[in-house]
């Protein structure tokens, strides 16, 4: 079986650590990250003809 080069293994481990760090964020922070993801994904999806709407988190608060 192939083994990963140490530097690649380190990169994967760092990636994994980042995902766990993201998982530990407060919910409101995560929602902001989701909206950033939407902003990144929307142009690609729209170019494919998929209608999507990026959330507006700044709606008036009563």
């Amino acid at each position: 079986m192939d083994t990963l080069k140490p530097e690649i293994a380190r990169l994967f481990a760092a990636k994994e650590a980042r995902r766990h760090k993201l998982a530990a964020l407060p919910f409101s922070e995560k929602v902001r990250v989701v909206v950033r993801l939407q902003e990144m994904a929307a142009p690609v999806l729209r170019a494919r003809g998929i209608k999507v709407r990026v959330w507006n988190l700044d709606s008036r608060v009563a």
């Binding site: 919910f27 409101s28 994904a41 959330w55």
Partner: protein, 165 residues
């Protein structure tokens, strides 16, 4: 989203819905890394109607009266497309009953427990559900005893074994 949740709370207070909880990708995001989604999936228990049929019509009418419009399967509430899913089986009923009380920017809300979100993924059974179960196992704090009870009650133990060899 803060205002969206306030509207959901108002609907519950006014008796348009009996109870709601956030599920789907945003529910999962509560427990794991942020997941890309464009809809806010909201499970609802609807008040008993005379016909005892599950109908979203009164809910949609109440939202229309508040000025919110439908967009495909969703209703756009304060800039967020919300998809309402009535509790159509025992698992969803339980998920709503046992949903976790939390708050989003000081607005009280409810999120389906991680264990029931996992069970819903198993029951739904799409590729993306399988991937979500993998992420839950990797990142979420799951009460394995509680999960075992959920899986047993809803006949999902075999599927769990298949998906988590």
């Amino acid at each position: 989203m803060k205002r969206t949740l306030q509207v959901l709370n108002e609907l519950e207070r006014d008796g348009v819905i009996e109870r709601y909880a956030i599920g789907g990708a945003m529910g999962a995001t509560f427990y794991v890394e942020p997941l890309l989604t464009f809809d806010l999936d909201v499970f609802v228990i609807l008040p008993q109607s005379a016909s005892s049929l599950l109908s979203l019509v009164p809910l949609y009418e109440a939202l229309r009266a508040r000025g919110y419009t439908e967009e495909g399967e969703c209703v756009l509430i304060e800039g967020v497309p919300v998809q309402f899913l009535p509790a159509y089986n025992a698992l969803l009923d339980e998920a709503l009953r046992e949903a976790r009380e939390t708050s989003y920017e000081e607005v009280p809300t409810r999120v389906v427990r991680a264990e029931q979100l996992i069970a819903i993924c198993l029951q739904t059974g799409r590729d993306k559900d399988r991937e979500r179960v993998r992420i839950f196992r990797e990142q979420a704090e799951v009460d394995m005893n509680y999960l075992a009870g959920v899986l047993q009650r809803h006949g999902l133990e075999r599927k769990w074994k298949q998906w988590t060899p």
